[in-house]
Symmetry: C2
Subunit: 119 residues, 2 copies
């Protein structure tokens, strides 16, 4: 991961939704890309904020005080400890920024829990 990374090339190699790939490591943080489709696990990250940036498609982040609808080029920060449920009926490509230790399903592990995987 020392050269430039083409996000579209990495995304094209991902065959399943909700399985992030780490495309950059910045100190102890990761930049990840993920393909979303359908409904993800409702969860929170007690120890960190989480950045979502939609690259293509559309993503809704369901939160207790309302839905956040994101399209291409739109970004949102889910505050630490805040329950959220990504929902993407039509699919999206999303960039995430979070500490490298962050697990995708946070405090609600299950079948969608993914191991950290470098692109």
């Amino acid at each position: 991961m020392t050269g430039p990374v083409d996000l579209a090339a990495v995304l094209s190699r991902i065959d399943r939704p909700w399985q992030p790939r780490t495309v950059a490591v910045l100190n102890d943080y990761d930049v990840r890309v993920v393909r979303t489709h359908g409904e993800f696990t409702r969860h929170s990250h007690p120890e960190t904020d989480e950045v979502f940036l939609v690259l293509s498609g559309s993503l809704t982040i369901r939160m207790d005080d309302g839905d956040v609808a994101l399209g291409p080029g739109q970004l949102y920060v889910v505050p630490r400890g805040t329950p959220h449920q990504p929902f993407s009926p039509d699919g999206a490509e999303v960039l995430l920024v979070e500490p490298s230790a962050t697990v995708n399903t946070g405090d609600s592990p299950g079948e969608l829990t993914a191991e950290r995987r470098l692109a």
Copy 2:
């Protein structure tokens, strides 16, 4: 900065190149957008890596061991302490991820040094 942020809307309000705007705060990190045009100050950040993601246009990062050429959707991490000079003769829109304390010109302050500014 609690709602969704539209990167294009923020970028459209930036009237000068090399003046980043912080569009998201993630723990003690910033996500910033910047319009690049021309040649920036050669500098390094002794305390941190720095992520560059080109959103549109083209950006070259001149480094001692060669140039890194980035187009839309391409990302590069400049390692901490590594001299680099962004160069963008045709202009670009770029997303940066770095600690909130990071100053754009790093160890080489000058007329292009920008104060941290929230979008």
